[in-house]
Symmetry: C5
Subunit: 353 residues, 5 copies
């Protein structure tokens, strides 16, 4: 998730603070069975006229910059100040709140940035009887496919109520996890091959970064289940029976996402274990080579050292007589080769070679 | 499980996409207490005539290729589009859905391919008052034993309703886990012996592959419990009281499958721990050999080096007089052997040998 | 538990298969407050006459060989075919089933064989209003103490109903865990001492074998809790109020068994950790000895090598003049001893010695 | 949390013991929609006159020194002796108690001391219909921002009942976790960089100290969830409906705190794993260098030793004839370089270099 | 806990067996608001006269030796045989049982023996309308402070019913955990310092012994929560409303005990991890020293070996001409020092020094 933001302890609750000055992009869509109209508007107040007509109104706001606009919107639609505070405070845990006139839900949308890092963006949805207000943290056409389906008018979209639109938005937000998980999964599986070939602490570092990504994805997707369960249990009458089966389908997607995340986490653990066992076995191999070599050459080096000593021949017959034997030198070689062969045989027997 | 497949975010829900063009194999079985008829048919519409007769109709479709056929089937039998979407999207989590006119369940059937790898295949079942539609992901005679029992007409099969047929199919699909687990178990137990004899990172890699298989099997079999529990709680009247005890028996099988998987997972962990402890003890042994050898030969090599020095005798009486002693050389050997024996004794005392 | 057995996928449910041809040993006990009669009978049909009398009938069958007998028994007492299938299929998970006329429970009895290995044996109990049928997997006088108590007629045994007899049998089966756990516990504690003295991979292997035994014991005893809980909740009227407190006592025993198993598992983990830390510290010690020795002798060996070089004195005054100094050789020894002492002092300071 | 304090076993329950003699600082605030009055008072009895007036009374006591005062307060407001004992016994687990006339809650406030260590301070709150008594363990202006908001009179503060004031205090206490977690998080992330650059046991020690801090934070924040859940379920009528949504917002903060703590704990585990894998790979690298060097020089040292032997030329033609060959010395160098090159080639091939 | 004891499988339930012959010490206390009387009695039957008077009777039995006495007590007070069996069988899991006329609870009291080892002692309590029977496993004045409070007559003690006395006993038994945990905590924290200074397998062994103590404490204190929860839910009327709040306070103590145990367990894990990482880093350091030394001296030793060879000068101009150069020896030293410096520079660059 995003780095957490908080108000100083003791700050009044429901304090609204704008993160940015950037003007948000507001898109208004009005539709019913017969008609579909889409307008880009610049002042949120332009939307208010559409509130009480017969069509379904979808206000999509991209960007959190317009503090005054949000206050007006909240006053007009009767949105709770605490909900608005959540909308404007990024890094929130996904949540669902049931108010008298509307439902409020907040999610984290995942995406990959240009460098392939997982990014989180907060999205909030207010759903009333015949309106939906969706608020994205920053500009981005997350909902373009839904608009196109509405414009074309095929499928259930135009025939249904605001709750179905809210479902369609939720479903799209949830489905954004799949391509991200696919990309992450590919990279983790690549690592599985590398770890046996060239283990390095950098690789482990990267592995842990992916693991952290997965932990964040889990933390962000886990509460989505509660959102979808709560919506299915909705008793305000905003969510209609027919939509609930679609919500269950969406719920199944979040379960599948959790399953995939869990299997990737297990995979990272496996890679870690393979890494550690590969390194320890490699250390073992290295030590074995060193020990075998030393075992052969340490005695031989001692032996050549013996016959490099300078005990004087004039000291007497016991002073290194070997040096003066006719076959001394060849015998030395024979003994050396025998010692080396013996060592090798011993190691062979103990399966060190 | 299979690699997960997903629709692009924002795709309309219940979008049906065919994975393949291959024509599915459709088998129609009509039976009641007295009669049994089996036909291979080529067009799904041929089945529709049998829907409203008094016999029980079992349509088995092998292969997901015929998109149009599925649409017609869905329209004729009133199957929910979301359920049909699940049928056609492979890699789904096993699930159970209760509709007004029928029950829908989806499972993952496990198998071993020619190389001994665990494979997953999706199977879906629609059960109504007097019909069962079973859909396999690909061709394969998974249900041949059931057909033979129906043809013979002994046992409960022909006397019971469609729910008992559905149970028989479910039971067969669940039981396919046993031979797979048996094969996997044998291979894992083989590893237990190998790990002490010749540990290698490849072995650990293989171990983790089995572990992944087990994790996939667990993920695929875990939701089967929910399916069987849900069927026992069924309130549509499709599942009859007498069948519920059979479903509980099948439920016990899934619990046993989970138990076996869990015990194999513990076994892989044990093998991993044995491996690591064996490697670390082996490193220890190797180091001990190296250290003992070095401890003996390093001092001796120094000693022979001393008497290989060329301090000139003419420099005076303190210049290496040992070289000119009558017993110098034998004394050197005595000292050398004493040092070696001393070292060995010390190591013996410290239990290094 | 025992290696699992399964029917081929698609086999008809409740298919009875005999594991063995061995004729089972059937003991019939008839008792009430006043009388007690015990007979060994050879054909199960001899028991059927006693079914409807006023006394309590206890049929104990040792061995699963008589397929026909079981079928007759099932038909006469109205035992469900699925329950009979469970009785005959060994390696089942302990379970409890409530039927209209009787209760069915299946347990795993543990024992130690001659080599001290943990063995599992399946035992099944059918309890009706005034009869108990107990079936053991193989011959063995598991219930002899209960028969003797019944014969003597003291305690509650003869005064109570069939449910109390069933409780007594269950209690005995559960209590068989205690001596097995005691033996296992002693062996594991022995290992705790050995692991510090002479660690070996064989020891770890044995440790894991015990761990597997414990896992099997846990798997076999865990579902016993459910059996005892289910019996206490029994609503068929077979289990009487007075007996339920005894069942709770038996339930406490299973909890205690789980506690003991858990504490032994923790002990095996501790031993594993102690082993690994002991090995790694030992490797450390060995390396330290090697390094200290090398640090002392590598410089000295270089030094003696220097004065073993053959730079010719006739080359000039700078060609190894030390060799011709009067105190050259004693100074060499002084320098050598100083280097060795210096090294030792450095290691002492760094707490390597 | 703080080191735990306890009464000797057998001490009478609700025994009040003063930890310190220091006189507490008592602040009395009286307010309603129109008025706001703040007074520092020296004797707790001065407050009692305000109990039954129409305004809301907030008594804030900083310090636990005045045992008599607490007894009087308890007697006047009917506070339960057990609750007062909890107030005076520091190191308590956060708790919530519902009494007839008031609610009681106890929390641990976290802070960083001058050295950056996490400190815990106990705070207790009694909430009645129109009064709040808040008790801090020691002096400190934890609630200054709340007082200022009350003095200004904007927001909901002055318009609401005592329950809203209690919420504001709770909210402030909960929010004190955020800056502490932020500081802790920064330090842990710093470690992540250091662990690859210069691992040291001191670093691991510090890491574990942070881990312990996190465990204490978790233990202190976990029961806050129960407090907030219990308050939302309050049935005494003290907590009003409108306040409950604010309490849910505060509840979400505690959930977020738990999430942050959990993610930091995972991060410390990751750092630990990276550390261990870095150290083991580094050991591996070191060993490889040692082995490669030894493999090259051990054979060469043996070779030069051979030709440093003193087998006498007068012993015969087989006594080291190489020494007298014209190209003996150059050939020696050629052989030496060949051996070294061969060794390097072998290591290159095995990817050790 | 204590080593578990069990009856042989098949033993009749509720079989009473005396562990010892030692005569128990029986103390009888009779009290009401006005009076307090304490007597040491030798035969349990002397107590029976007091059963039906108006005062509250507290019989405290220290020691389990008097089998006959327990049987009489059971018969007179109507204690269930199973409960009496539990009283006499040591090593029981703490439990709570509700009987018609009385409540039964069994706990494990912890203590430290003279050597500082954690010991467990079983204590049982029967509570009726106006009597309490408390039974300790062995002699010891566990309840002296309670008797003194009763004798003094201040506090709630004398004014309350038997349930409050039972609470006071329970509270004392629970509070005995605190000094034990304090002592254990101090020792574990001492280890934290030692582990970095002088790691040893003995230390790890001791650490695991503490860990086992903690596991036993957890197992013994965990079920106390259930006892206290069950007593608060008591519906026999024995436990009065006013006492329930005191029981909740005692419940909070058990939660705090669990928290402390948990934090100590985490501490032991931390110490273990610090130990392992310290050892592995230390091995690393040792290897680095060895490798650096070898890297410097192996080439130099080869070099001095070269010039210690005896290639004869008479073999020709290519036979070791260096030995006869005027600056041969000084150049050798220069080259040696250069090689050593080069090696040191390389290691410096790679941060090995």
């Amino acid at each position: 998730m995003q780095p957490f933001r908080y108000h100083l302890p003791g700050t009044a609750p429901a304090t609204l603070v704008a993160l940015t000055d950037e003007k948000p992009l507001i898109t208004l869509i009005e539709y019913d069975r017969e008609s579909y109209e889409r307008r880009e508007i610049s002042d949120i107040e332009e939307c208010f006229a559409y509130r009480d007509n017969q069509t379904i109104t979808w206000i999509n706001i991209e960007g959190l910059g317009d503090l005054e606009g949000f206050k007006k919107l909240g006053a007009h639609y009767g949105l709770h100040p605490l909900a608005l505070e959540d909308v404007l405070t990024i890094g929130q845990r996904p949540k669902f709140e049931e108010f008298e006139q509307h439902l409020f839900m907040l999610l984290q949308v995942v995406n990959l940035d240009a460098e392939g890092n997982v990014t989180f963006e907060q999205a909030s949805i207010f759903v009333g009887k015949d309106y939906v207000v969706s608020i994205q943290q920053s500009r981005g056409n997350l909902f373009e496919p839904i608009r196109q389906r509405l414009a074309k008018g095929d499928g259930n979209g135009r025939k249904s109520h605001a709750d179905y639109l809210a479902y369609a938005i939720l479903d799209a937000l949830v489905d954004y996890y799949f391509p991200v998980l696919e990309a992450l999964g590919e990279r983790i599986e690549e690592m599985e091959d590398q770890v046996l070939e060239k283990p390095s602490p950098e690789l482990i570092h990267a592995l842990h970064r992916y693991r952290r990504d997965l932990a964040q994805l889990r933390r962000a997707s886990w509460p989505q289940r509660e959102i979808l369960t709560s919506m299915q249990r909705d008793e305000t009458g905003i969510v209609q029976e027919g939509t609930k089966r679609y919500l269950r389908d969406c719920y199944d997607h979040t379960i599948q996402i959790m399953d995939i995340i869990e299997s990737y986490r297990e995979l990272t653990s496996s890679i870690m274990e393979i890494y550690l066992s590969a390194v320890s076995l490699r250390t073992n191999d290295i030590m074995r080579v060193l020990t075998v070599l030393s075992s052969i050459f340490l005695p031989l080096t001692f032996l050549v050292g013996v016959y490099g000593m300078n005990f004087a021949p004039e000291a007497g017959p016991w002073s290194m007589p070997e040096l003066y034997w006719r076959w001394g030198y060849p015998v030395f070689w024979a003994v050396s080769l025998f010692i080396a062969a013996l060592m090798l045989a011993i190691f062979k027997k103990n399966k060190w070679l």
